[in-house]
């Protein structure tokens, strides 16, 4: 499975349980779904991503820019793998 699909899977499972997966595109602004509004929820998402990809995501990367879209998250992860 490619990175973007895996990121989407993690998002749906951890942060966006109440939305229709078809609605979520790789460039959908995640802030509109509340991702990034809540620092605890963002942290929970980060550890889920770390678990999925077996990488360490440094706190300095937890910014609104990194979590803007599935594409931006995937782009950061691809640099870490």
């Amino acid at each position: 499975m490619d990175i973007e699909k895996r990121v989407k899977k993690v998002l749906i499972k951890n942060a966006l349980k109440d939305i229709d997966p078809k609605e979520l595109q790789i460039d959908s602004p995640l802030i509109e779904y509340g991702v990034g509004l809540d620092s605890v929820a963002t942290l929970e998402l980060v550890v889920a991503l770390e678990e999925e990809f077996q990488i360490r995501i440094d706190e300095s990367y937890i910014t609104p820019e990194t979590f803007e879209t599935i594409k931006s998250i995937s782009s950061h992860i691809s640099q870490e793998i």
Partner: protein
């Protein structure tokens, strides 16, 4: 020892060379800490702070927070810690309700503090950051007014969330705080050798209770402004931390955090979990990763620390909040008003020398909660034959988000300000991992979307109050008498 001033002066005198506070590269001994409190007290005095005045502390966990609290108490003034996650209106409520004369803050929060204080007469002073108005100079002669402080003078206003729409002011006296520190440290057996890491906010009753206890015993405290999990893990190892107070979500995140190299946490002897129930899954996963079991503590803004689980059989009692701490009484009272027997569920009531006298300006609510010398906590529990307290539910109506209490009616009233929202119900729902989440059920004009609601909340209410789940309905289910059937909306 019966005042906060005596509490910290005793540690300054007895442990001058011990490290008192560590924040990043700053490391302050108790001797320096005493000089800093003198210097800061002089600064506050120059700002017109006198005995009985109220001073807001809008600061993250930091050396300045610690110094500010003890300096305010040193002058006989009253501290009002304010959560830095709050937005303008929320901060304004605390500033105005407490009639704060001065609000202490950091550089980046100055504009927010000024806006929030504009309605009242509070001045704002930056005491952290490059533009800090307070610059520490160790002077031999600092000018501090001679103030006589009595044990029953007020020392701090904490605010308790209930179902009244607004937080309720809880005043705690100097004697209350000294008693809290005595009872907690004697029970847990802390000494001046302990090193305690504070990632939980000092502005919250849980962090505050542990913090004042640490200073009372002459322990070293390491403060962290934000919960940065990798930094927490580094500090636990580098600073040889012995005690780590946390909330369950922190323990969960730490248990799941990817670490390439194992950490040496052999110094760590007590991990405390409080603020929200500790799910078994987190208890076990934290132990599996770090080799130490978290232990639950129970307390409240009204009473201070109530109990802690120091059981030798923690694997089998992990879901208990333990036995009462020294000098605190806990009784379970049934619906009939009589004390419940072993393992019988009833309301948890507490009598403690660190307990408040009531809610400011709310005589009816005070009468309801404080009866016969006891605080009726609104939590339901049972006590087993070994004296271990188990919390099984609550009578009070609020949502617990990682230890922060959310009053549903406060969020409902806020969302009703949205021009397209006609009706709203705020609920707490349990996630699959046992955590509570805020859910909003809305009846609104057609076309209103979730993103508009989130945008509406973003800069106006603290992030932990923002609904994570939003559902739109054509109408709310009601009983024949018109009461909203909340359970059907979960």
């Amino acid at each position: 020892m019966s005042t906060v001033r005596e509490l910290f002066l005793s540690s300054v005198k007895n442990f001058p060379d011990n490290t008192a506070v560590v924040e990043d590269a700053k490391r302050v001994s108790y001797k320096e800490f005493g000089s800093m409190v003198d210097s800061f007290s002089s600064f506050l005095s120059s700002k017109g702070v006198n005995k009985g005045d109220t001073v807001g502390i809008l600061l993250p966990n930091s050396l300045e927070f610690v110094i500010a609290f003890f300096s305010i108490a040193n002058l006989g003034a009253v501290s009002v810690p304010i959560n830095t996650a709050f937005k303008k209106e929320e901060i304004a409520f605390y500033v105005n309700h407490s009639s704060a004369k001065l609000v202490l803050t950091q550089e980046k929060l100055k504009p927010l503090a000024e806006e929030a204080s504009s309605e009242g007469n509070a001045l704002v002073a930056v005491v952290k950051g490059k533009s800090s108005e307070w610059i520490f100079r160790a002077l031999d002669n600092v000018s501090i007014p001679e103030v006589s402080i009595e044990p029953n003078d007020e020392a701090i206003y904490l605010y308790s969330t209930g179902s009244t729409g607004k937080p309720k002011r809880v005043s705690r006296t100097h004697l209350n705080l000294v008693a809290l520190a005595d009872n907690h440290t004697e029970t847990v057996g802390w000494t001046e050798e302990d090193k305690i890491l504070f990632a939980v906010p000092l502005s919250h009753t849980y962090g505050f209770g542990n913090f004042i206890s640490s200073i009372k015993i002459g322990a070293s405290i390491v403060v962290l402004g934000d919960f940065n999990r990798n930094r927490v893990l580094d500090l636990l190892e580098e600073e040889s931390i012995t005690v780590f107070p946390a909330v369950p979500v922190m323990l969960d995140v730490l248990a799941k955090t990817y670490i390439a190299e194992p950490k040496d946490l052999s110094s760590l002897k007590l991990v405390i979990s409080a603020g929200a129930p500790l799910p078994g899954k987190i208890f076990h996963s934290f132990y599996e990763k770090y080799g130490i079991y978290p232990r639950q503590l129970y307390g409240s803004s009204e009473t201070g620390v109530i109990s802690i689980n120091l059981s030798d059989d923690i694997e089998n009692t992990f879901n208990s909040v333990g036995r009462h701490v020294n000098n605190v009484e806990v009784h379970i009272i049934g619906e009939d008003g009589k004390e419940s027997g072993v393992d019988e569920v009833g309301e948890i009531t507490v009598k403690s020398p660190s307990m408040t006298r009531g809610y400011f300006g709310l005589p009816e609510e005070t009468k309801k909660v404080f009866r016969g010398g006891y605080s009726f906590t609104g939590d339901l529990g049972r006590i087993d034959r070994d004296g271990f307290l188990y919390i099984v539910g609550r009578k009070k109506f609020f949502i617990n988000i990682s230890g922060y209490k959310v009053d549903p009616s406060e969020v409902e009233n806020f969302l009703l300000k949205h021009p397209k929202v006609k009706e709203v119900v705020i609920l707490g729902i349990n996630d699959s991992d046992g955590s509570e989440r805020v859910k909003a059920v809305l009846v609104a004009d057609k076309g209103l979307e979730k993103k508009e609601i989130l945008e509406f909340c973003k800069d106006e209410i603290a992030e932990f109050k923002i609904p994570r789940i939003i559902e739109f309905r054509d109408e709310l289910p009601r009983s024949p008498t018109g009461k909203v059937l909340r359970e059907e909306l979960k």
